[in-house]
């Protein structure tokens, strides 16, 4: 971009995408007045999807965007590099951020002390900024910095849950998260030592020269383990259920729908764009291991979900199982498999956020989080439970809902490579989902009401839950965004960056 006078809005979109929530967060911390902070949060979060869609549109119209931070051309400076997949991720994260922010004010008012709310919103926006920063950047070290921004904000958000166990959950997440980040730094460091560059694109160009070095393999291993910890890859998922279960509703819904997705995106970015398919098949024979872990996640965590007494914990275990689906698609590593994974990231985000928001509505009205205490809720709060059921159907993958589309891609991909076992696992895991969700439905509808509805959930909370429930159906029918864009993204990923 030529340094001419005057503000160029279209060209600066990538910077705005991250800086608007970041500055919004800082302004919140200055103001601290809770209503104003809520207003700022809603405003900033609502602008985000607009910017994200404009970026996606720019990418589709004119290809990859490269934005040089500070005006230093990469690889000298830090580059924001956006192609289809991370534009898609930006859309996903910012949409979720907006929906949850609109839902937030009264839920936060219910769960957080009034004096703390201003800062709480500040942390929420900072978490959003951090995740967007991770998704948009094209610089290995910048990924780390923004990962830490989002993580520190997340630890704080989780620790503010009302039960004392939230503190322990946050501490354990802090330890695991920091180890994960350090592993990533080690991996990125090894790549830096052999290529001399931190720019991901530049590393991809230089890796073929040094691809026989063991350091490169080790670097890949450390990066995979680092992100594996962050995205709760089975068996590194133990921090996740507690973190989700004891965080305040708003934090859970937002983190569950975005944080693991961004980590999966980064895994994709490193595996396919930086290293490339050829490298993976030649030097890193780990695909089968991945597939086994993914299958185990689907089975073990779905079974664990059945035995949970806390509904948020149940949904959290189901999240780990769903991560298994996405990893399975990545491990298959065909066009359709990747499309399925990326699409499942989007669909699962919508579905899971809807479920958590519905649970939040129930908690707001009755104070209940344990499943057995939800008896009769379907009769006293029919609208909320209806949304819960629609999203539940999406999670199971019933035809006509969003979940079906992406699972269909995954099954197709597995059939293409002739891996019938994985198809069986996907089926069994879906049946298990029927069981754990069915249990909730059974208790909610077919038992006598037990807990009194203290107050009706506010309009905006219901509205946002229903927006997501309707989105579950919408994206089950209209798949231009949820499957069309991922198809392009998958093709770009498989093509890789190395020339």
């Amino acid at each position: 971009m030529a340094a001419g006078p005057g503000f160029d809005f279209a060209a600066n979109l990538p910077a705005l995408q991250v800086m608007v929530p970041l500055i919004g967060s800082v302004v919140c911390a200055v103001i601290r007045q809770r209503h104003l902070c809520a207003a700022i949060t809603i405003l900033c979060s609502a602008v985000m999807p607009v910017i994200a869609f404009m970026i996606l549109w720019q990418v589709q119209a004119s290809g990859t965007i490269s934005y040089a931070m500070g005006g230093w051309a990469p690889p000298i400076g830090i580059e924001y590099r956006i192609d289809t997949i991370n534009a898609f991720l930006l859309v996903l994260v910012s949409l979720m951020g907006a929906v949850v922010a609109l839902y937030a004010p009264r839920s936060v008012g219910n769960e957080i002390r009034p004096e703390k709310q201003g800062w709480y919103y500040s942390m929420y926006l900072m978490c959003l900024a951090g995740l967007l920063g991770m998704a948009i950047t094209g610089d290995a070290f910048n990924v780390f910095v923004f990962m830490e921004i989002s993580s520190l904000a997340m630890y704080t958000l989780i620790a503010l849950g009302s039960e004392r166990r939230a503190l322990v959950a946050a501490f354990q997440y802090l330890i695991i998260g920091t180890i994960g980040a350090s592993f990533y730094v080690i991996g990125a460091g090894l790549l830096f030592l052999v290529t001399g560059s931190l720019n991901l694109w530049d590393i991809a160009q230089r890796l073929p020269e040094v691809e026989n070095l063991r350091s490169v393999v080790a670097g890949l291993a450390f990066i995979v383990v680092g992100f594996g910890l962050k995205l709760a890859m089975f068996p590194m998922h133990l921090w996740l259920p507690n973190a989700y279960a004891f965080a305040p509703t708003v934090a859970t819904a937002f983190i569950a729908s975005t944080a693991t997705k961004v980590a999966i995106y980064l895994l994709l970015r490193f595996a396919f764009s930086v290293f490339g398919v050829d490298y993976l098949t030649e030097h890193a024979p780990g695909g089968e291991v991945f597939l086994v872990l993914a299958a185990l996640a689907m089975l073990v965590c779905s079974v664990s979900a059945i035995f949970q007494i806390n509904i948020k914990r149940m949904l959290a275990y189901s999240s780990v199982a769903q991560v298994g689906y996405m990893l399975a698609g990545i491990a298959i590593a065909t066009d359709i498999g990747l499309t399925g994974s990326i699409s499942h990231m989007f669909n699962h985000a919508i579905v899971k956020a809807c479920l958590f928001l519905a649970v939040g509505c129930i908690f707001f009205s009755t104070g209940v989080t344990r499943i057995e205490n939800m008896a009769g809720i379907g009769r006293t709060m029919p609208l909320t439970m209806a949304a819960f059921v629609i999203a539940g159907l999406g999670l199971i993958g019933v035809p006509g809902t969003a979940g079906f589309v992406s699972k269909w891609y995954l099954v197709q991909a597995a059939a293409d490579v002739g891996n019938w076992l994985i198809i069986a696992v996907i089926m069994v895991s879906s049946v298990l989902a029927v069981i754990y969700l069915g249990r909730v439905v059974e208790i909610a509808w077919f038992r006598e009401p037990k807990s009194a509805v203290v107050r009706k959930p506010p309009v905006e909370m219901m509205a946002m839950t229903w927006v997501l429930a309707l989105a579950t159906i919408w994206f089950g029918v209209q798949t231009d965004l949820s499957a069309g864009v991922p198809t392009i993204a998958a093709a770009e990923l498989l093509a890789g960056w190395a020339e």
Binding site: P75, G77, K116, M123, G133, V145, G196, V217
Partner: protein, 169 residues
């Protein structure tokens, strides 16, 4: 080399000591040694930061936390087999990964000839700041530094949210 060996010795001490106060003192000494190593590695800015942060602020913070909690560590209740396996696996991977890295102190390894060399050669012309570290930190990679300040901000607000007292609680 001697310093590095001392570092290793202190780490062993930290593992074996149960008195947390002693652990803090040892980790302060560890930071000072690390800062000395960094000076030998020509990283003066980093050494200065490590000395003030690692030996200074961190020690004060941990002591503050110890004052609020307790200073003795209980012996572990569970066996350390799994952690040990994890650590050995990590170590093995690291040895594997660093085996074919170039020897210490050479100028022509990739890390020193690509972007790093550009900063040394061009920063005087492009930014006119003699301390290259400052030039890279504040200008070339200024956005990282913004991120770093934001991390500090986030931690500050996080600590406030967790520890500040309002009225009763």
């Amino acid at each position: 080399m001697v310093l590095l060996t001392l570092l290793a010795a202190i780490t062993v001490g930290i593992i074996r000591t149960r008195n947390l106060f002693a652990v803090v003192v040892l980790s302060g000494a560890y930071s000072f040694l690390m800062a000395s190593v960094m000076i030998i590695l020509d990283a003066v800015d980093v050494a200065m930061t490590e000395a003030s942060v690692g030996a200074g602020i961190s020690t004060v913070l941990v002591l503050g936390a110890l004052y609020l909690t307790k200073i003795h560590e209980d012996p572990p209740r569970f066996s350390a087999a799994i952690p040990l396996i994890v650590c050995v696996a990590t170590g093995a991977m690291l040895i594997y990964g660093t085996w074919d890295l170039p020897p210490f102190g050479t100028a022509d390894q990739p890390v020193n000839i690509h972007v790093g060399a550009h900063y040394i050669a061009e920063s005087a012309r492009e930014t006119d700041i003699p301390n290259i570290v400052t030039a890279v930190l504040a200008s070339y990679r200024g956005f990282d530094t913004l991120g770093e300040v934001t991390v500090v901000f986030t931690a500050g607000i996080g600590v406030l949210l967790l520890l500040k007292r309002w009225g009763d609680a």
